[in-house]
Subunit: 157 residues, 12 copies
């Protein structure tokens, strides 16, 4: 591998965490896609599925980037739980406002971390991984805007 051990450790930490977070986010979108009820059912049922599909496409990209650099990606549920910064609910949440509130909060956390990670891996001499993070960042920024946009209405309650 062309990364030094220190560089590799930094890149691996970022990729492993982002991978686990992405799998958890996918599962959370699907969970809400299945549990949603009420006025916003069709709107959010469809929106969550589209976002889940876009998020899903990045799982293999992140894992294989790690593999190319010599790492071994996490996949076991226990590992996803440990590394992910997103929590998938075990309880059933049917209320649109509560679902949206959680997801907006998740996306704030994810996008801030990803921008920092982009800088970290670039500094660790790995511009190709930085490039991948920048592309995904744009995607998550888009989802954050869309989820937030609906919440901008007092009458939602």
């Amino acid at each position: 591998n062309y990364l030094s051990q220190d560089e590799f450790d930094a890149v691996q930490e970022a990729l492993q965490r982002t991978l686990a977070t992405t799998i958890a986010l996918y599962l959370k979108f699907k969970k809400f896609h299945w549990d949603i009820r009420g006025r916003f059912f069709r709107e959010l049922h469809l929106a969550y599925d589209e976002m889940a599909e876009e998020v899903f496409a990045s799982i293999d990209v992140l894992a294989e980037r790690l593999v190319m650099l010599g790492g071994s990606p996490v996949a076991a549920p226990a590992d996803i739980e440990r590394y992910s910064t997103v929590r998938v609910p075990t309880e059933t949440i049917r209320d649109a406002r509560e679902q949206l509130r959680q997801l907006v909060e998740d996306h704030n956390r994810i996008t801030h971390a990803m921008r920092d990670d982009s800088k970290t891996v670039d500094d660790a001499n790995d511009p190709a991984t930085a490039d991948i993070f920048n592309g995904l960042l744009h995607q998550h920024d888009e989802h954050r805007w869309m989820l937030q946009a609906i919440l901008d209405d007092d009458r939602l309650d």
Copy 2:
């Protein structure tokens, strides 16, 4: 809902467990897809991905069937761990024979359970769910054959 409470409990138990097992199996196929090394790299890297893709398609089908009947599907990693009959490794397994041995064992367990579940839900007055199980059963039977077929060679070691 047109199922009695007893019928619903039986169908829900089968769908919830199959859903968790299917998500875990998907993650296990991907984990091996990423970790495989050696003579069988390309062959199994591709085979696992194709099977993972076929398995993936049934996740939404199983979860939405449960939703239609009034249930709420599991998605949190902790729940997947609890309900799944397949264990996703946290350690890195690079050996083809060990990967195949685990997967064949998993598929023996999955196909036996699914055939029983098919009968259970049919008895619980839900032929549409039985129909879904019968179709998935054929798919898992196919995967079991293919995984086993390679193992049928002493020279693999």
Copy 3:
């Protein structure tokens, strides 16, 4: 034909009724697709059309199954009216809640009947028709869930 007269009569009754009901349901979805007004206009205008399209695909399947067994499918409006268990409104209903209420009620009736029909035709020695009913049942179950999900909100009024 390989069905006895009694078997054929039972299967024909189920197919003829289901065919008429399916045509009527298609027309009802389109009627509501055209008449809907208000906050839910775009959401339901699109949802009804997708469901109508899925329902439409089964008309030819049901009619041709009957033809294969030696029957002659109904098509005249008067016959649809007579055999259908779904009533298409002649009046103009523009209110989302009223439309959804009627459709949920229709789907409760349809899915209960179809599950019974599946059993009837299986007992009448015609597993291929039972197979068709089981597939359609899953589709109608899905529509019932989606229509019901929006109604689960007090603020709809």
Copy 4:
């Protein structure tokens, strides 16, 4: 709406009648598609289906044109029966010559009426509806020719 009440009444009468006739014609093509027997089975079974499919596409066009102008399209079987100028048989007709004879007669009626309607709605200040009628007229003219062409043979009996 930009039509005066008189204009609207004229256009609505034409659109409502054409819509009901088109739905009835679709059902009649399918009925004959299912009931046909004998030497011409495959030929007409296929021809009726192609024509039915083309006719079907205009149902939504006609109904939505009426909706755009402020009307509410008919869909209930009883209404189709009342407004349609085409009669769908309740009896089973298996003879090709009789089927073709009825359809040619229907198409003569339909194309004459549609040409008159094109003029009526143009006079009622609605050139966009006239445009739609002119396009459909060409389609029905084509079907009339094809249905008639086979009948031009004494040996058909």
Copy 5:
């Protein structure tokens, strides 16, 4: 060119104005597509984009029709501003009701003018341009209906 100077002047005036209005309408749909917030975010974000796309397709048709007849289509922002009958907001409007209210008003103006233009160019001996206007008229009528349909609800406020 086969049009007399008077005929050409009449047709050119209609095409130039419609072209500028169409470009402005496209930009207005996009502006609202970007600025919308609140309960109707996803619904209108998608609806405006679909309508914008359909409107967009007619820009080249209108401009090239004018070119074929010997004219030179407007494209500069200042010219669009001068000729267009639709005003694109420079301020940010996030409220669904206000957006819809403006668009319905715009469409009332556009469809009335287009029907008159259809007659004008037909009288100016140019039936091919009239044909184009009739097709576009149907499209704008459809958009007006859809935009109006949502507004038909007191609870929107």
Copy 6:
């Protein structure tokens, strides 16, 4: 394998016989597709090919189902001859009526056997194979109807 020896023997007998019969039926449809002459040339030349194509698709399905259960599918011409219930002519038959007569007879035999096989394998604890038979049964029922429908005409001679 999860089937007992008795169960496996029963399922294998049904799959092996159906496979050989399907290959033979495919070859017979093609033989008639090539040998047909006279008034019905184009009609039957095309119809036989479409049916052959549909039948062809099930060869791999049946053989692989057997493989999954641990069997080895027949493929040698001598084996096809031995197990098939359909006889492919060695002589040249150009007459439409004779071709159709044979095929209708073949399909009566095939569909009766397949319905019995569906029950047999279901009783042998293999609902996935039963499911496959039910689907193919519908296909053969359709072909039987179509082949029979043309024969329903005295003027065919």
Copy 7:
């Protein structure tokens, strides 16, 4: 047929002449497509082919419209020669300017005639044929503009 003899004669004359002219124009475009040489080779070789292809699509439309009304379309070379208003060169013309000059002249003649024909058939009570002419007129107007546009350059010689 729903046209009177006089109406039919007028419509037939227009359709027959346009059909022959269209076939001749197609052959002329191809002839120039094959014979062109020099600086404009690739440009015109491609342009003529695209225009030929668009023109070709209208041959069947015109001929079948005539058939629907009861006529029999011309196809023999001698008839094309007699009815066509376009002359296909028997000599080899390799010069771009001469090819373009002839084609522009042809299109001036064709578009003037077609606009008159549109009026003629409308007066002859056949709005569907007028509709077809209006669509084709737009296409020929486009070709005329494009062919003329290149000629607008003194340096072409």
Copy 8:
């Protein structure tokens, strides 16, 4: 060009004649496609169109092969008439038997000539043109068989 004058003359004669014949055959197929009436209407209306389409594709191939060798392909109706060995009827033939009889005769002539031409151009040192003729020969042989096959029935009259 790499052909001697004698070789070129031989190849050109074959290509020019085949091109004219192919255009004429295309027009004849379309003429019969439009004029056919009676029992075989749909069958031959479709068959002629498919064959015309296949024949059409070879027009550009033949003409461009001639162009590559330095020739100028014929396209004017008068030239088609002079070089073609197929005569397109100016009269209206509605009888299937007469149409088929003429076409079979045409195909006998065409296929014999093309086989001879294949040998001629091969001897003239142009194997690439021979290759093209061999491919087209197979296509015309197929059409001859299909047209002849229907005629093999006394009951056609």
Copy 9:
């Protein structure tokens, strides 16, 4: 037909034998596709299927070429057995080396015979059939190379 009796006999012998051999080869590829086990399972399971598919496409080509020339193609299993130069095993062969050894031997025989047949039919005045043989020869040469290439390894045993 344009072949003399002697020419026809020679061409028919070649086509009939090649057709039977091709059907047998197809069945042999599928038989091995189903029976393969061990290290090479996936590799050969896929390779055989791809080759089978390519071989399959030539069955209809060969049979219809014979039909065009006046022959009647074999299809009955007994006839395939008699004419084919390839033997399909009735026993189960699971060993990759043995399967490959047989197939290489088969392809040596097939390609030698096909090259001779190409010459034979060309001498029999039928260049179009020679053309078909030359194309198929290339395909079989490719398969021979690929099957042989794997065998070129001592470690295969």
Copy 10:
């Protein structure tokens, strides 16, 4: 939003200006696409349209990036005029050299600015926007090269 006010102001300024410039450039390409005359008509008519289409695709990307960061994109003609660095002509320019000269100059300005903007937004802590600018920069560089390449010829005048 995760940008500080200063960062946001810098990024917004760059995005708003680029968006207005892109819309103006699109309109300018179309204007020239419509107005071009002479020797280069077809070449530039097509080239401008392809470039316009590529440029068009970036409008939504730029505007939505701004929206995600909390801004409101300009769309009104007056705003486009104010922010754009490209001027769309109100006069008619038919000369290829003048059109190309203006466009090359525009592209020199655009590409220099965009490279600076890429650096600005990267410094403003927004690598995802930098990534978008880098991709668009490559596209505009390509257009500049192509437009310039034609101008590199004295004989153009």
Copy 11:
């Protein structure tokens, strides 16, 4: 292999040389595609790319044909240089006339050689390779014509 050593040597010499020439021709087309400037920029930039793409497709065909016969295809730049009859310029040529002049000369050489090679390999008992050469010959003949056609104009200078 079924070729004698002498036959193989002859075929190998032809294939090896043609392969190297084809790779060189591909690189030359791309070189000119990148270096072209001036009036003909877009025309030739596109034309070279299309021809390069068609030429590219034959590289694998030629190399694999050689492999099937037992040879090993050249690929190293030094080998391409040695065997190719086409010289790829190391200098930058921006002038259209000079590019075209060189390419026409190359194609004269290539097509003459290929026709001779076709005969050589046919004599060497390898009709399948001859078939491939005949097909490619047609393609190169087409390119020669197109490249030459533009040069047929004195004003090019």
Copy 12:
């Protein structure tokens, strides 16, 4: 051009070398694709082709980027030899291990150089080229992993 001479020299050196290396790598992948023999034949024959195809797509991207900046890309075999850091073998290598060993070594060299080049061009004020390098780097990293993964097995020898 917007690059200073020094910047241009640095970017040109990187692009020219990468272009030559990419062409050589493409040829090397094809060479091994053709020469491979033994157990890994099918696996590597396919893998090399897929990688060759992905590598091929970047040739035009790299060359045109250089063109846009004012350079002239190398294409002559001698130049490829001079600039490439990858050596294409002139000898025939049939052994999988030796092929893989060379390719892994090549990819180590390529990816290290490309990461350095990414930094170089970014420093040379050309972020768009850096972006291209980062994307290609990811692709070459993936190939290196896959090629290496198979070598990770002692039993390969």
